[in-house]
């Protein structure tokens, strides 16, 4: 143990006040950024999203070159504000990602050398807040990653006993439902809804659940999945997702007024917030049916 030394930085790690004070610190930065974007003579379609020290600039534009230049411009603005606030950006960690539904999309890079950055190389998968985004937003990689993670956890759990001694089936089931399932289903709200191709994702999860049911019951490898799932007392993965999804939708009734999700809902649910330009109320009827994000599937 070292002798005590003075720390005079404002927010210490470990204090319960740190999260809220850091949010407080960032609030004027984001407000100023939004204001400066608005004050530019041409309107730039840029959104900002922030999660503690991870920030995102989102642009929507019909051509890549235009959207890249808008992003570069707003990147310049935000880096200036951050330097004023005494924060330093880690330019080497900056990542660019294009989302598109085109079959053979171009993937133009961006050159950040004007702000001491470098040319960003683009990757097919982008990790953000633990979600693995792919360019077409089908989340195949995401579910594959988490299902594999859970499969390896399940194989490791086989250490907890053999065919004659070890955990009781009821304890195994508890362990699976509390420890494995929440990890496997992390971020399902992003891909589980009507009108999206989810068969691949569901298959991955089904495979994982089958392995868990085999482990819980100790059944033979060739036993039918539905049967052992029923004996193990596990809800089939599609039904379970549907149940969780229903609860997730109910949650939106209780979120506070200032929540960003409110601005995306239709006019009767916005709770006095200015609707976002892509809010449900501003879409045409056809577009609304195409965008089934908020409907129960």
């Amino acid at each position: 143990m070292s002798p005590p030394s003075n720390v005079n930085v404002s927010i210490g790690q470990g204090s319960a006040l740190s999260p809220i004070l850091s949010a407080l610190y960032l609030a004027p930065i984001i407000k100023t950024f939004k204001k400066r974007i608005k004050n530019l003579n041409k309107e730039i379609p840029i959104d900002i999203l922030s999660f503690v020290d991870d920030r995102l600039l989102i642009s929507q534009e019909k051509s890549y070159s235009l959207s890249n230049s808008f992003l570069l411009c707003s990147y310049n603005i935000i880096s200036k504000i951050l330097i004023d606030a005494g924060l330093v950006m880690e330019h080497s960690k900056t990542k660019l990602f294009h989302f598109t539904r085109a079959r053979h999309p171009p993937n133009p890079s961006i050159n950040l050398s004007s702000v001491r950055g470098s040319v960003i190389s683009l990757k097919p998968i982008w990790q953000y807040l633990g979600f693995y985004f792919d360019r077409k937003l089908n989340f195949n990689y995401h579910t594959h990653f988490y299902a594999t993670k859970c499969l390896s956890a399940l194989s490791a759990m086989k250490m907890l006993g053999n065919s004659s001694r070890g955990l009781l089936p009821i304890q195994k089931r508890l362990l699976y439902r509390t420890y494995v399932l929440p990890i496997a289903l992390y971020g399902f709200q992003l891909w589980f809804f009507k009108g999206t191709p989810i068969v691949k994702n569901i298959t991955e999860l089904k495979k994982m659940q089958r392995r868990a049911a085999l482990w819980i019951t100790g059944a033979f490898r060739t036993s039918p999945s539905e049967g052992i799932e029923a004996i193990a007392g596990l809800i089939p993965i599609t039904l379970y997702l549907r149940k969780l999804n229903g609860r997730h939708h109910l949650r939106y009734a209780s979120i506070p007024l200032s929540h960003a999700i409110n601005s995306l809902l239709d006019s009767q649910h916005t709770k006095n917030q200015a609707p976002h330009k892509t809010a449900t109320s501003k879409l045409t009827a056809k577009q609304q049916t195409n965008l089934m994000t908020w409907q129960n599937s």
Binding site: M1, S2, P4, S5, N8, V9, S10, I11, G12, Q13, G14, S15, A16, L17, P19, I20, A23, L24, A27, P28, I30, K31, T32, S50, F51, V52, D53, R55, L57, I58, Q60, E61, S67, L71, L82, D84, L87, M89, E90, H91, T94, K95, L96, F97, F99, R101, L129, A156, G187, I255, P256, S258, A260, N262, L264, Q273, H276, L283, L291, T293
Partner: protein
């Protein structure tokens, strides 16, 4: 079964700091201390704060017992205590006694009233642990500092934090596009917001592009003067701002 075999430990390399290896303990503490507090004297320019509007005044009534009961209910009994070895388990049983609870509430109220944070709560112990899944561990940045603070102080901090959480999102100072560190805003919400924006953009025949960046050494590099201006902007009373001034000054930590 490959994974049950004995796993060889990594070859140990000494930690390099500014090109020199730290072979003695004082060197090591110095290296760790200066890399976790590298942002001490960075210049700031607060002029852009004038652009943000002043938020509504926040009222600060006295603390109630219930606030402390709520705050302690969420604490994990198994987390490591600070230098005085009073763990959450002890504190939880103490708080069941009404008189003890009354004293703690009094301490919190007096702290705010006198704009003073006792030096006992400022002592901490920083445990340095390696970040998982790295190839080698030869730089202080590959280790994670865990700060262990006094639990009584933390309980009062939690009560203050809960109050600020509620007040600041109620008066609209915190932007709706901030998702971290605020109650009822989760990573899933941020993910949903992003995917929803992308899908809606596609409907309007647009390409969606995202530029992600992060801030180096985020927590240690927050500047106090800037923060106190933010606190004023957020509509907090002057005595709360002074309280935070005392809260942030003269902290000390020891590494182990």
């Amino acid at each position: 079964m490959n994974w049950v075999k004995k796993k060889n430990l990594l070859t140990i390399e000494s930690i390099l700091y500014e090109g020199q290896s730290c072979n003695t303990l004082p060197d090591l503490w110095h290296a760790l201390h200066s890399s976790y507090n590298s942002a001490k004297n960075r210049p700031i320019n607060t002029s852009f704060l004038n652009e943000t509007p002043q938020a509504d005044q926040i009222l600060w009534p006295l603390f109630s017992k219930q606030e402390f009961k709520d705050a302690i209910a969420k604490c994990s009994s198994s987390s490591t205590p600070g230098l005085d070895h009073i763990s959450w388990r002890h504190l939880k049983s103490l708080i069941t006694n009404d008189r003890c609870l009354q004293k703690i509430v009094q301490i919190a109220n007096v702290c705010i009233d006198l704009e003073f944070w006792p030096s006992h709560f400022k002592l901490s112990n920083t445990v340095v642990i390696p970040k998982p899944n790295k190839n080698n561990y030869n730089s202080p940045k590959l280790f994670q500092p865990i700060v262990l603070l006094n639990t009584t102080g933390k309980l009062i901090e939690k009560a203050i934090s809960n109050r600020l959480q509620f007040q600041l999102s109620a008066n609209g100072f915190i932007d709706s596009h901030q998702f971290g560190g605020i109650q009822q805003r989760s990573t899933t919400d941020a993910g949903i917001y992003l995917t929803r924006l992308i899908r809606a953009g596609w409907l309007r025949q647009c390409h969606m592009s995202v530029l992600a960046f992060d801030i180096a050494q985020f927590f240690p590099s927050l500047n106090y003067q800037f923060l106190s201006l933010c606190l004023k902007k957020a509509g907090l009373n002057t005595n709360i701002v002074w309280f935070f001034n005392s809260y942030h000054s003269n902290r000390s930590t020891s590494y182990s």
